[in-house]
């Protein structure tokens, strides 16, 4: 089956992070991102410490650099925008390789690079070590309203099917000679998107009928709580706690 049945964000593995309870990982990931976001941007040493912590997590999870690099594509738009800050920023100018850049803009750029980059890495580790179904179970255990976890579950379940619908329509268009190169022909794509929307709406109705047929009464059944060993919470607290100490120290020195 060569792992084709798992979501692209998830990596099969047996590491301690893979085995940890999902709710612990969710709390720890949010805690780390929160701490990173609260750190003053001038405390460069603090970001270096976070970098070491995150690198440790990546090593424990046994994720390859290539895997993380592929996932990093989603960061590109943010980084491109951040690259503009030093050019369009106002205030004091400093010369970098002979180019006058805004000092304020450079700090803004660093802020986005460091915080978005580290936050992204934490999210990648969480997603790569936790299957979607377990993430939902974890959110359920953390008392996220069942309606919210259901919506996330449905979205994940059907996004591939909706994508496949759209892909089939594109193939059908191309098979009848459609090329869609000029802007004028884009309205064909707009209609395609429209009909995918209608199809998805109709599918929603069929899914709801199937749910009613199995006695759905408005509340999704619980997936059942998973018992969490105290040691896992203790490890998560130690991890987030040490990052928080770094943050507090950095706010004191900054």
């Amino acid at each position: 089956m060569s792992g084709s049945h798992v979501h692209a964000l998830y990596r099969h593995g047996g590491s301690q992070l893979h085995r940890a309870a999902p709710q612990v990982k969710i709390v720890a990931a949010f805690g780390l991102v929160f701490v990173i976001a609260l750190t003053p941007r001038t405390a460069i040493w603090a970001f270096a410490v976070y970098g070491v912590i995150v690198a440790g997590l990546i090593a424990v999870a046994n994720l390859s650099v290539a895997f993380i690099a592929r996932r990093a594509i989603v960061l590109i738009p943010f980084l491109v925008v951040a690259l503009l800050f030093p050019i369009i920023g106002s205030g004091e100018r400093v010369e970098v390789f002979g180019i006058p850049l805004s000092e304020q803009g450079l700090w803004d750029m660093w802020n986005v690079f460091a915080k978005a980059g580290l936050g992204f890495l934490v999210a990648v580790v969480l997603a790569a070590t936790t299957a979607i179904a377990d993430l939902l179970r974890g959110l359920d255990a953390l008392h996220m309203p069942r309606i919210v976890t259901s919506i996330i579950g449905f979205a994940v379940r059907y996004i591939d099917i909706v994508g496949a619908d759209f892909a089939r329509m594109r193939v059908a268009l191309a098979s009848r000679g459609y090329q869609g190169r000029s802007i004028a022909t884009w309205r064909v794509y707009a209609r395609t998107v429209g009909s995918v929307f209608v199809r998805t709406y109709e599918r929603g109705e069929r899914v709801y009928l199937a749910m009613l047929s199995r006695v759905y009464d408005g509340t999704m059944p619980s997936a059942g709580a998973v018992a969490v060993p105290g040691a896992q919470w203790a490890a998560a607290a130690a991890l987030v706690g040490s990052a928080a100490l770094v943050m507090v120290a950095s706010r004191g020195f900054a």
Binding site: S4, H5, V6, H7, A131, I132, A133, L136, G153, F154, V156, R157, Y158, D160, I161, R203, R206, V207, L209, A210, M211, L212, S213, R214, V215, Y216, D217, P221, S222, A223
Partner: protein, 249 residues
Amino acid sequence: MSTPVIEIGGLGYHYPDGTVALEDVDLHIHQGERVALLGPNGAGKTTLILHMNGIYLPQTGTVAVSGYPVTDDNLVDIRRRVGIVFQDPDDQLFMPTVREDVGFGPANLGLTGTDLDDRVNQALAAVEVSDLADRPPNHLSFGQKRRVAIAGVMAMQPEILVLDEPTSNLDPASRKDLTVILDGLEVTQLIVTHDLLYALEVCERSVIIDAGRIVADGTTRDVLGDPELLAEHRLGLPAGLRIEDVATP
């Protein structure tokens, strides 16, 4: 005779625009029967089966399941007794894992803990998909999805299993596997299909519905052995094949 599992009398239904979907339908299905429901596209097959579990309520006539009339007040009980497997398994498998999906119906019926686990495991074993329990439904093969959809309905221990086009889009091997599995399930079955050879293989009785009316009801061999009847209702065995050529299973 015992109380029929499905007892439909004088059932009529028309859509809001006035189109007649069902007219004066009488149909009795008894325990242990396997009945094929045949008919051209738009004949009213799906509308009829959606009356059996109370998704549609009768506008005229009556529908009763094991003697209980289908009304607004007993829908939970009716839907437990009548299990419908829909045509597109993607419409039916909506939970994050196979196990949770098969557990959806029994959990709605109030089962929890080991009772729920046992029910799910039995249903998975009955359609031979126990090894898929912890997989997400997204990337199962089409044949696997269809079997899991059947497990999800069997987990409610219905008195009648209603299958809408169970063989559509299956390759011959998956179709054969499904035939064997359905044959092994000890439950009354109503099978909606265009696959007449499949009807001949698994159902001793066939009913043809066309334009909302029941136009034939008899042994599958008799119904499919009448080429004029089949042609009149846009049905027919594959070209060149006569009922005499097909061995009785």
